[in-house]
């Protein structure tokens, strides 16, 4: 079974390394966000320097020492969405080019074919997330730049929560968009739906700006948004628990539930697409 999986992963990998623009553009986007938007847009500078206003800012940023630190963690959620947008396109092209038909005419198990897409596409999401987090942290040590400042002492349990959270949010969105790839046969239909979804998903989360400013009904949606849950796990570990209603593992649990549900959705649509009729 692992030979089948290895063969399919190798094909995905070869296609990926032979499209250098894909790699460069995929990694440049989050880096540009960090280097330009993150540096230029400092919410903290809009707040007067008196202690009362500063306390209000700290509360709005849920304990983050500055807006960049808040934003850098939010970038994880943003990258999870933007990097997974293309997750379903490979399946659609494979359908159109007859490659999928060739694959399902072999004795390889359907579950292996599905898993190879999920694993490789998930990898393409996890990779830029770690690059973004690493770069944001690195910027803190470069004079003249603002970087991700970690206030708390993150222990092994915290690191585990953060890594599992990153894997879960990556798998959640990879599965969601992969499901649409299995559903549609045309790229136009696919991107129609994907474009419709990606901004609402992003902007109903607290990834890029504090949720405290939005109306109450929207705050309820924000609380359950998988991106919010993922960034809560990280921010609570990085900046302290005082502004959070629950410990980080509760948010992680919610996030894992999202990931499981979306993987099941992709699995359902995937097994329908890979089934003989």
């Amino acid at each position: 079974m692992y030979r089948e999986l290895a063969a399919l992963l190798r094909r995905e990998y070869l296609r990926w390394v032979r499209a250098p623009m894909w790699i460069v553009a995929g990694l440049m986007m989050p880096i540009l966000y960090l280097a330009l938007f993150g540096q230029a847009f400092d919410l903290g500078k809009l707040v007067p320097p008196n202690p009362q206003a500063q306390a209000g800012l700290s509360s709005a940023l849920l304990g983050a020492p500055d807006y960049f630190s808040y934003f850098a963690v939010g970038m994880v959620g943003m990258v999870a969405v933007t990097s997974s947008l293309f997750a379903g396109t490979g399946v659609i092209f494979d359908k159109q080019l007859g490659i999928l038909q060739r694959t399902i005419s072999t004795p390889a198990r359907r579950s292996v074919i599905f898993a190879s897409s999920l694993i490789f596409r998930g990898f393409l999401v996890v990779l830029p997330i770690f690059i973004v987090l690493g770069l944001a942290r690195l910027l803190a040590f470069i004079p003249g730049f603002t970087g991700l400042t970690v206030v708390e002492n993150v222990g092994p349990a915290g690191v585990l929560e953060i890594v599992v959270g990153i894997l879960a949010i990556s798998m959640a969105f990879t599965s969601l968009f992969l499901a649409f790839g299995f559903l549609f046969t045309r790229v136009e239909s696919y991107f129609g739906v994907v474009n419709l979804l990606n901004l609402p998903i992003l902007f109903t989360s607290n990834a890029l700006y504090p949720a405290g400013t939005s109306p109450l009904w929207l705050q309820h949606i924000t609380a359950y948004n998988p991106i919010s849950l993922a960034v809560n796990v990280m921010r609570e570990n990085f900046f302290g628990a005082s502004y959070y209603a629950y410990p980080a593992y509760v948010y992680l649990g919610g996030l894992l539930a999202w990931a499981a549900a979306l993987i099941l959705l992709a699995l359902a649509l995937g097994s329908r697409a890979l089934k003989t009729k």
């Binding site: 079974m1 399919l8 296609r15 499209a19 080019l97 005419s105 072999t106 004795p107 003989t276």
Partner: protein, 337 residues
């Protein structure tokens, strides 16, 4: 186990709800090692049949056994026993020829050590050795077809299915492809099931032929047996102006079955043309009669098809309505969206 047949099909039916009857109950057998030609116009049910035999479509009714394995009961075992060349290229254009073959071998559970020799051997016999390291998107149409053939043989299948493998190739490319098939057959023991709508391909290659039209098999047998059904050879005798009517004289020649007159042209049917030529010429030796030309026509599957369906077999555009319905159905089969 039906070990004496490589393929055994009994009353196979495929119906697409609500009422598209693509295959309406067909039966046939293919002995091991033979090339079986499945001939029919576009939309006749050829691809649907191949899809059922290769486990890509589930039969609505009936039974199909390939390599001794029931396609409905153990589809994965069938997939291991068969190779499949699709109508369209299925290779990944971004990968090289060799990489495409390695991926295919991996999907059959072969290790890289196991498949290396086999891949080298197949690339050499398909004349793709030099191109093996190049990406497939730069291959010519003929090279892509040969690669498909090599890919489909990588796991040494018992039965090879070719679904209109030469569609879209120019005549040279078609002839080339069939040369490789003949060569492959000399090198390895494999049963071949091929569908085509080119009559000449079946005539030159197949040991046995079935003709399918509108989802039903209308004739089966060896090439010769099918030709026998239309009455053997036909001799065309063209006579000069002022020749008296020769119908009676020609009909009197032994073994002649039928004589038809179309003006100055007589069509004479008999089992073996050469045997009666001199007798025919003698029969025409009447006052005022002269022969301008004479030729023996071998029976072709084209004529078989005409006799059986009352329609001339046209390679493209036969019964446009059905073909359109069939391609609409194929689009639907790929899923909505």
């Amino acid at each position: 186990m039906d070990s004496k047949h490589a393929i055994m099909v009994e009353d196979l039916v495929k119906t697409y709800p609500p009422d598209v009857h693509a295959v309406k109950g067909i039966s046939f057998q293919v002995p091991p090692g033979q090339i079986f030609g499945f001939l029919g116009p576009n939309g006749a049910g050829k691809t649907t049949t191949v899809s059922m035999l290769t486990t890509l479509l589930r039969p609505t009714k009936g039974r199909a056994v390939v390599g001794g394995i029931d396609v409905a009961e153990e589809p994965r075992r069938v997939r291991r026993a068969i190779g499949l060349v699709f109508q369209d290229s299925t290779a990944d254009g971004e990968l090289t020829g060799r990489e495409n073959m390695e991926v295919a071998a991996g999907l059959f559970g072969m290790s890289s050590a196991e498949c290396r020799g086999r891949i080298d051997e197949l690339l050499a016999s398909m004349d793709l050795k030099e191109a093996a390291g190049r990406r497939v998107k730069g291959y010519s149409g003929g090279m892509k077809r040969r690669l498909e053939l090599a890919v489909s043989l990588v796991h040494t299948p018992e039965v090879l299915f070719l679904d209109e493998p030469t569609i879209g190739l120019d005549p040279q490319g078609r002839a080339g492809f069939w040369r490789y098939i003949s060569q492959m057959r000399k090198e390895q023991e494999v049963t071949v099931f091929m569908t085509t709508h080119y009559l000449d391909e079946v005539e030159n290659l197949a040991d046995r032929v079935s003709i399918i039209d509108h989802g039903k098999i209308i004739a089966s047998g060896s090439n010769d047996a099918l030709k026998e059904r239309v009455g053997g050879d036909e001799i065309e005798v063209r006579v000069g102006k002022g020749t008296p009517v020769l119908t009676t004289a020609l009909s009197a020649v032994p073994t002649v079955r039928e004589v038809k007159r179309e003006g100055d042209l007589y069509r004479v049917k008999c089992p073996r043309g050469e045997a009666v030529l001199s007798s025919l010429v003698k029969a025409c030796d009447l006052p005022g009669a002269s022969i301008e030309g004479i030729r023996v026509l071998r029976p072709s599957l084209d004529r078989v098809f005409l006799e059986l369906t009352g329609k001339a077999y046209r390679e493209e555009g036969y019964d446009e309505g059905r073909a359109a319905a069939s391609s609409a159905f194929h689009r639907r089969r790929q899923g909505g969206g």
